[in-house]
């Protein structure tokens, strides 16, 4: 009798532990504890509103991008690691897509550090990468509106007396020719995934 009661006790404890584990899993994945990422889809380009300047001094905005499939990446030119790596990856994808791809796509690098990334700074920086890549900068307010539209984030982090770095969303955003958000290419995603994703966004042009 005592032994049986003990067994029941262990069984109940095991069940309780299992239930707790399942609940914890649900809470983190689907429940209220889940991250915001799933809901944070970028707006269609047609619903975004911001005015920036490209590296050749032209006024640009989200409407500039509608009509061709688009790739957008946020970064800053004082970024030594992630930004040159991503711009170099993008240059490699463009090479893989063939020489027409550059004319069929908008490729834009938007700075999250307009204080240091002037039009001239952007012009020099993008010149080291694939010629299809455009560099956009503008006022702090307009940059903030652009980041908001893409549901991206950025944050200035002090690293010294007068030095700072920027934390920022490092994913590449893909939109189809109608300006609808297609998908993201995450940092470190292998090229065999990236190039087909870009092709799909380019093929979506004819779809309604």
């Amino acid at each position: 009798m005592t032994r049986r009661r003990a067994l029941v006790g262990y069984g109940a404890a095991a069940l309780a532990a299992l239930a707790l584990a399942l609940f914890a899993g649900w809470w983190r994945v689907d429940g209220p504890g889940a991250g915001q990422a799933a809901d944070r889809r970028p707006l269609p380009l047609t619903q975004m509103e911001f005015r920036l300047t490209d590296h050749e001094g032209r006024a640009v905005g989200p409407d500039t991008l509608v009509g061709k499939p688009t790739m957008v990446f946020f970064g800053f030119t004082y970024c030594p690691d992630v930004c040159p790596t991503t711009l170099s990856d993008i240059s490699g994808w463009l090479d893989d897509l063939g020489k027409d791809a550059a004319e069929l796509l908008n490729v834009v690098f938007i700075t999250v550090d307009p204080e240091r990334d002037t039009v001239a700074a952007m012009a020099e920086y993008v010149s080291y990468f694939h010629p299809a890549i455009r560099g956009w900068t503008g006022s702090q307010e307009q940059i903030a509106r652009a980041v908001e539209g893409f549901q991206a984030t950025y944050e200035r982090v002090k690293t010294g007396a007068s030095e700072y770095t920027m934390n920022h969303t490092a994913s590449v955003f893909l939109f189809d020719a109608k300006g609808r958000f297609a998908t993201t290419i995450d940092y470190h995603e292998p090229r065999e995934f990236a190039v087909p994703k870009i092709r799909r966004a380019m093929d979506a042009e004819g779809a309604t």
Partner: protein, 154 residues
């Protein structure tokens, strides 16, 4: 890339080494595939990547970097969170277990070269010294590739 063992081994340690199977010694450290990217001027930080191998039987700890190219140089770690946000922080001391290789590569650990004293020019190179907790050092000559380089091959 070659590494030059700079640790001075005293005579008593040598005698001990002959008796003991192995002695922890950062002088064994091998640095391979070092490369860096050209900088735009001197106002932006530079970066360098490499593979650091500890072929000895004892752990070694990488504690710092030194180069005349920059006022300050530190190992930093880039991390990307679940929301795709990248951030960069000093990595602190890095323990390298026996037989292990620590990779400094794009998007992870990297040598961060702050307040450059001269621009990093494509095709040139610079000396970078790694310092270890046992007082040992390893100096590597780091070739500078273009800004868009993806690895030691360009």
């Amino acid at each position: 890339m070659k590494s030059t063992p700079a640790a001075m081994i005293p005579a008593w340690a040598l005698a001990f080494a002959l008796a003991a199977p192995a002695l922890a010694d950062s002088g064994d450290i091998v640095v391979r595939d070092a490369w860096s990217r050209a900088s735009v001027g001197v106002s932006r930080p530079g970066v360098a990547y490499m593979a650091i191998l500890n072929p000895s039987d004892e752990p070694v700890t990488l504690t710092g970097l030194r180069t005349d190219l920059a006022e300050r140089s530190e190992i930093h770690l880039t991390a990307t969170d679940g929301q795709g946000v990248s951030s960069m922080t000093p990595a602190g001391d890095i323990a390298i277990a026996p037989g292990e290789t620590v990779l400094l590569q794009p998007g992870g650990l990297h040598a961060m070269l702050m307040q450059l004293r001269r621009p990093m020019q494509d095709g040139e190179s610079f000396a970078l010294t790694l310092t270890f907790s046992d007082g040992g050092e390893a100096t590597v000559e780091v070739p500078i590739m273009g800004i868009a380089a993806r690895g030691p091959g360009g």
